[in-house]
């Protein structure tokens, strides 16, 4: 009896969002410590984390947008397509147009994201069409358009852009010595700064602003949100606009990282974004989630990939299988946690 009441109080005290966040961070730390203990080597160096950030900055940005949409009860699977479309359009603009400037390319990326968001948000929020179907068509369209814009993959040679792409920001005190004692400074790319800024801003918006709270309200219970005077349609619309806009920014960051345009860029990124959001504790049913969790979700996902790669299971299929297994485990944890909680509340 006593045990039961203790359990009850814990479940009462901790909100859904925090509970799932704690689970996520705990599992990430366990995994990373496990990697250090069993695989050692690269995982002890701080640069490992920075490398993860460098390669996944675009994923972090898109996953944040995805979490926002999922918190407000929707889903957007067009982000991968938007990223590919943005990087292809920017690449074509920078290479084929004379006197092209990087700033206009950036504006173009934002514009594509914004247009996408407005159309999808309108269809979902004001015409009541299922978000999955709308963004499915969006994904189709973006992938098709990418091939129509340009068929073959190519590298961008624009000088200003290449300079920007190769900019490295060194992180003090985090470097490491190699076997010969030569010091390698730790570095991050510009995309990481953007990604971290997005995470911080979104976290603050979601936690402390009226708009941020209304995302949770709409996702948690549409009816009660409506009764509390939240503009449900506008909130849903904005969630899609912000998500696609972030996909646009993510597209540019991705482009900045790879420096080329290709129709096969960011294949399956939407699935990775959804997976990291779920691993980060965002509930699919809406109303529960945390941007910090999503950030750790991306880190966990790429740590698993790195572990798989350095454990010698480098055949391509193991990555797919491990990510899926992880997704499965986290979905089951979510399901069980919520079930337990319901039980605790009812008893």
């Amino acid at each position: 009896m006593k045990k039961n009441s203790a359990k009850k109080s814990i479940f009462y005290k901790v909100s859904d969002t925090n509970l799932l966040l704690v689970i996520t961070i705990g599992i990430f730390l366990l995994m990373y410590i496990g990697a250090i203990v069993f695989l050692g080597g690269g995982f002890t160096k701080p640069q490992m984390i920075f490398n993860i950030l460098n390669t996944n900055s675009a994923l972090i940005i898109t996953a944040c947008g995805m979490s926002l949409v999922m918190i407000s009860g929707g889903i957007d699977i067009s982000v991968g397509g938007v990223v590919a479309l943005v990087s292809m359009s920017c690449a074509v603009y920078l290479d084929f147009v004379r006197n092209s400037s990087v700033l206009i390319a950036l504006l173009m990326a934002l514009g594509i994201g914004l247009i996408y968001g407005i159309i999808q948000g309108f269809l979902v929020a004001y015409l009541d069409i299922q978000p999955f179907i709308v963004s499915l068509a969006g994904m189709f369209f973006a992938r098709g358009m990418t091939t129509i814009v340009h068929t073959d993959p190519f590298d961008v040679k624009n000088e200003t852009f290449v300079k920007l792409k190769d900019t490295r920001i060194t992180v003090p005190f985090m470097g490491s010595y190699n076997k010969r004692g030569v010091y390698f400074p730790a570095y991050i790319e510009i995309g990481v700064v953007v990604a971290l800024a997005v995470v911080v801003v979104l976290f603050l918006v979601l936690r402390y602003t009226k708009l941020g709270r209304s995302f949770y309200a709409v996702g948690g219970n549409k009816q009660s949100a409506l009764m509390l005077g939240v503009n449900v349609r506008l909130t849903k619309f904005l969630s899609h606009v912000i998500c696609s806009l972030l996909a646009g920014i993510g597209g540019f960051v991705y482009f900045l990282h790879v420096g080329s345009g290709s129709a096969s860029h960011a294949m399956g990124m939407e699935m990775n974004a959804i997976a990291s959001s779920i691993i980060g504790g965002t509930m699919l049913s809406g109303g529960v989630g945390n941007i910090i969790g999503t950030f750790f979700g991306v880190l966990s996902l790429s740590t698993i990939q790195n572990v798989v790669a350095s454990a010698g299971l480098d055949q391509a299929w193991w990555t797919g299988i491990t990510i899926a297994a992880m997704l499965c485990i986290f979905l089951l944890i979510q399901s069980v946690v919520m079930w337990q909680k319901k039980k605790a509340l009812n008893s």
């Binding site: 069409i129 068509a137 189709f140 098709g144 358009m145 068929t151 299929w317 193991w318 299988i321 399901s335």
Partner: protein
């Protein structure tokens, strides 16, 4: 007259039939040879029918079979299975493994085709059962639950055969995706007919259809009425798994081998599109399997038409997306309501205008 129009437009088969008619008219104007069906000889020297119409019937078969299962899943769970393409790869890979054994270039097949097919069926149903268990028991949204197999499926398929591409040596295996000697109609057409007849009999003589609809409309009240929603949802996913196995037989048989990353790519999107085109609510509930099957052929017709206009296969997706959006927007209840209001006002305006004119006279 008005009630007659309403009856026609209210019918679920209205949208796919109209779409088919539009496509037919476009083709008729652009190139009348689209409708020519000729009797030719294939490489083996047998008489076969050929022509764009036969191509549509032939290559639309996998989609039609998948549409049957996808409609049931959609109706029961209110979500879609996005892992069908990956599951086709798994089932096909298992089938090849049984047929060819560990040797990738065997002289003869190592097991009878029927055994391999049964193994593929079991594998497909297991995948369906996995999805179904996640959806029905653990109450995870269907699209997300199937995301797991969607991500892992092709990797598992490659793992089953050690990433090698076995080639089936027996020409008899090719009959399923091609032609049986002496019969000029593609075998796939017969396979679809068998599937359709079996589905028809099952729906006719069991309560599956009724139970599925009631679970999709309201699973709480159907539980109070003594139906087990968990089991019905689970069952719909297993049935889809069976459909996937049949589709994988056709897919693998067409080329006699498998390409893990390309086989049945994007077919999940087409299957969902077929269900939507058939006028079935994607949020579950009432369904009409025949409309979905017709929808599948409409999509194949669209694909063939686009190819005829020299559209690149990668760019195909953009055109299909436009079609999806037009379809979905036009069939959204909200839009229909607005349209109805506009039309009514127009009628009203016309009437009042007439009245005013008459008054002026």
């Amino acid at each position: 007259m008005k009630s007659f129009l309403k009856k026609i437009t209210g019918n679920q088969l209205f949208i796919p039939v109209i779409a088919l008619l539009v496509l037919a008219i476009i083709n008729l104007i652009a190139d009348p040879s689209f409708f020519v069906v000729s009797l030719g000889k294939n490489n083996a020297g047998y008489n076969i029918l050929s022509g764009p119409l036969i191509t549509i019937l032939d290559y639309g078969s996998e989609l039609a079979i998948l549409a049957i299962g996808m409609t049931l899943v959609t109706a029961a769970s209110g979500g879609q299975d996005i892992s069908v393409g990956a599951t086709i790869a798994i089932a096909g890979s298992a089938m090849l493994r049984v047929l060819c054994g560990t040797n990738t270039r065997p002289e003869t097949i190592q097991a009878p085709i029927i055994v391999a097919f049964l193994v593929a069926c079991v594998v497909g149903m297991l995948c369906g059962a996995f999805n179904g268990a996640l959806v029905s028991v653990f109450k995870i949204q269907p699209m997300i639950a199937t995301l797991i197999l969607f991500t892992a499926g092709r990797s598992i398929a490659a793992w089953i055969n050690n990433n090698e591409l076995p080639i089936v040596p027996d020409p008899k295996f090719m009959y399923f995706g091609g032609f049986i000697p002496g019969i000029p109609i593609p075998t796939t057409v017969f396979i679809v007919m068998i599937c359709v007849i079996v589905t028809f009999l099952v729906l006719k003589f069991t309560n599956l259809g009724l139970y599925t609809q009631s679970v999709g409309i309201n699973d709480k009240s159907s539980r109070l009425n003594g139906i087990n929603p968990t089991f019905i949802k689970f069952l719909s996913f297993v049935i889809l798994g069976l459909c996937v196995a049949v589709a994988s037989l056709i897919k693998v048989s067409r080329i006699g081998t498998i390409n893990y990353s390309v086989i049945a790519k994007d077919i999940e999107m087409d299957a969902i599109l077929a269900v939507a085109l058939g006028g079935n609510a994607l949020s579950g509930g009432k369904f009409n399997i025949w409309a979905s099957v017709l929808g599948a052929y409409v999509i194949q017709c669209l694909t063939t038409t686009l190819y005829k206009f020299n559209v690149q296969s990668e760019a195909l997706a953009a055109y299909k997306a436009v079609v999806v959006i037009i379809l979905v927007v036009s069939s959204a209840p909200k839009v229909r309501e607005i349209l109805r209001k506009v039309f009514n006002r127009k009628n009203l305006d016309a009437l009042t205008g007439k009245a005013k004119k008459e008054a002026a006279k």
